[in-house]
């Protein structure tokens, strides 16, 4: 055994092969070194890209077998590549900082052809004007992925209970007001909860934290979870908001509120604080998805093709309203795409305030001491 897996890398490679075999991803099980993979494409993504609405047209036009697995947090996806599944996936769809800050330096993804893909950014919304920071490496030379879905993501209120105005003014202090105990929920999205608890504690999440700040984080996490009426998934949060079980919940925005809004509950609204502890006094956080080609030694030639396919106006609209959650897409900068959105759809994704909310938000970034903070938060949840 030990000889077989003489190095960690060897083990990784082996386990990836096994993973592929078990997942039934490689149709032929263990494949030969340089097989023709134009007939298949494997996507690791947030939900939406795995929907039949998005994938079926691509399947029928290319004849390729497309498999997509959706997960609802970034670290798990990155770690699956690290654990050896780099041999399995062709595309990875995660939030903005990971491509540039982690996956590219670690050699988990490969560059895409800048000449081919940069022009697409010209027709996106103005904020994505090329060269777009999150699509490029640190030096701004190499292109690392394509953008599509994005949105502000701070918290959600029931405007019948807390007005948008009041929520925007009070911002993260909503969670510091003892009167609000038992009135709010926490969406089970632990990485984002770490950011939010930093904001509630009054400091920027996206930096290395002092011991005092770490201690303050632990205390804040305890009081936040103790006061939480409910911790749960998006459906639970929306149901609790609509029914009046809670008045607001943290970690949320268009991504989580849109299903309720699309259902007619327009009193459920993602809110971005007017100010907060982050760079430039900003109080909100936003996310932008970057889809990159995995550094698979045997990558499918369909990977880049798929990146182009989703830039199409109609496909982009489908992605925006794929099953699950509804989100603005960068391609709305293209009038052909924007024209496809109905007034109700625009209202569901809070188009009216999208620009100002994005302006009040800093972009999602890596928290250097995330592990330490997460452990503190997990313990706080347990003790609550």
């Amino acid at each position: 055994m030990s000889k077989l897996y003489s190095s960690r890398r060897g083990f990784m490679a082996q386990s990836a092969v096994w993973a592929a075999a078990f997942a039934g991803v490689g149709a032929s099980g263990i494949r030969s070194a340089r097989a023709d993979r134009s007939g298949e494409l494997n996507i690791l993504c947030w939900e939406g890209y795995n929907s039949a609405q998005v994938l079926d047209p691509f399947r029928s036009s290319t004849g390729a077998t497309v498999k997509a697995e959706s997960l609802t947090n970034d670290p798990t996806m990155i770690n699956r590549l690290r654990a050896g599944e780099i041999n399995v996936w062709d595309l990875i769809n995660v939030n903005n900082p990971w491509a540039r800050r982690v996956m590219w330096p670690e050699g988990l993804i490969r560059a895409i052809d800048r000449a081919t893909f940069e022009p697409y950014f010209n027709s996106m919304l103005p904020a994505f004007k090329p060269p777009y920071k999150w699509a490029m490496d640190d030096a701004g030379e190499v292109m690392l992925g394509m953008c599509q879905r994005f949105g502000p993501y701070s918290f959600v209120v029931n405007t019948d209970k807390v007005s948008r105005e009041a929520a925007e003014d009070q911002g993260w202090n909503l969670w510091n007001d003892p009167a609000n105990e038992g009135k709010y929920g926490v969406l089970e999205s632990d990485d984002w909860n770490v950011f939010n608890i930093c904001c509630i504690a009054g400091f920027d999440p996206f930096k290395v934290h002092s011991d005092d700040e770490v201690a303050a984080f632990g205390e804040t996490a305890k009081h936040v979870f103790k006061g939480a009426k409910v911790v749960g998934d998006i459906a639970t949060m929306n149901q609790a908001l609509v029914s009046g079980e809670i008045d607001f919940h943290m970690t949320g925005g268009t991504y989580s509120a849109s299903p309720a809004r699309a259902d007619g509950a327009t009193n459920i609204r993602g809110v971005t604080p007017k100010s907060g502890p982050m760079e430039g006094g900003k109080g909100g956080i936003s996310w932008i998805e970057v889809t990159s080609v995995v550094n698979n030694p045997d990558v499918s030639p369909r990977a880049e093709e798929f990146l182009k396919y989703v830039q199409d106006a109609e496909v982009a609209h489908t992605v925006a309203f794929a099953e699950g959650t509804f989100n603005p897409v960068a391609q709305m900068g293209n009038p052909a795409c924007f024209g496809l959105f109905t007034a109700e759809e625009l209202d569901a994704i809070q188009w009216d305030s999208l620009e100002e909310e994005m302006a009040r938000s800093v972009e999602y970034d890596i928290v250097p001491d995330y592990d330490k903070l997460l452990d503190l938060m997990t313990a706080a949840k347990r003790e609550a």
């Binding site: 632990d190 939480a228 409910v230 998934d233 079980e245």
Partner: protein, 283 residues
């Protein structure tokens, strides 16, 4: 007959043995192996360490362990009290209605547990079936029970009811009717018949029901998440967090191993103290 390895029995058992090794032993060994790896790593062939166990014991994971064990014990207790009369009825009283009633208890099993629990959410939520009806029909307004600890227990009792009920029904059905009658004929009161004859003779079914529901309930996670709104973090949820958000597989593996050990010791302890064969009079 050729002896030893040439006999057809062991040879034909090989595929099954292989399947068991790959499907059962291998994942288990992998989990045990991971629990000795350095924290937040993903390889299985590094220098083993006890750090994960040390951090479990120095941390607050015991709270989750205690919640899981307490909830499972409470579930088993409530189920025992709820199910015995039903089991007795199914085996002895309901007669030709028994199959229908059994079916009614079985049907929910065909619906996903999550769907059923969300059904309960809609039932208990503010303005939902229960509170909404109370308010609009009777004008009574009471606090919602959703997202409380009590409702987690209710959810678990509901979800695991068939797993207690059916072994118990078999257990009660195993008690020959004439044996109960004989006890009564010898002067035993209803209660004495139950205590001296029916309870001990239905014990095999009861113990199997206890063990089954306890082991399942210790592994419960959705009830606390969906109905309880995570007011309680059971150990399974801790394990899940370790494997997902925390990306700390070794820690999750250590928690899983400890859970297996705790449950294993409890189950073996019960089986030791309670010899099914002896009760059935087979020894």
């Amino acid at each position: 007959m050729a002896a030893g390895s040439r006999a057809p029995g062991p040879r034909f058992a090989l595929p099954v043995l292989g399947l068991l090794l790959v499907g059962f032993a291998a994942p288990l060994l992998a989990v045990i192996g991971y629990s000795f790896m350095p924290e937040r790593t993903f390889g299985l062939w590094q220098e083993p360490t006890l750090d994960n166990y040390a951090s479990v014991f120095s941390g607050t994971s015991y709270i989750s362990f205690l919640w899981s064990l307490a909830l499972a014990s409470a579930t088993v207790t409530v189920l025992a009290l709820v199910c015995y009369p039903i089991a007795y009825g199914l085996a002895r009283v309901f007669g030709r209605w028994s199959p229908l009633i059994t079916l009614l208890f079985t049907i929910p099993l065909f619906v996903s547990e999550n769907v059923r629990l969300y059904g309960w959410v809609l039932f208990f939520i503010k303005g939902g079936v229960l509170l909404g009806t109370l308010k609009s029909v009777f004008g009574i307004e009471i606090e919602s029970w959703l997202f409380t600890r009590g409702i987690i227990l209710l959810g678990m009792v509901y979800v695991y009811l068939p797993f207690m009920l059916f072994p118990m029904t078999l257990g009660v059905a195993m008690v020959p009717h004439e044996t109960s009658e004989a006890a009564a004929d010898l002067g035993a009161s209803r209660w004495q018949v139950f205590r001296e004859v029916e309870l001990p003779l239905s014990m095999p079914g009861i113990v199997i029901g206890f063990l089954l529901t306890f082991v399942l309930a210790v592994g419960a996670i959705v009830e606390a998440k969906v109905l309880g709104g995570q007011q309680i973090i059971p150990i399974t949820h801790d394990i899940e967090i370790a494997f997902t958000y925390a990306q700390n597989w070794p820690l999750g593996a250590a928690l899983a191993v400890l859970l297996m050990v705790v449950v294993g010791v409890l189950v073996i302890g019960v089986l030791r103290r309670f010899d099914l064969d002896a009760v059935l009079g087979r020894r």
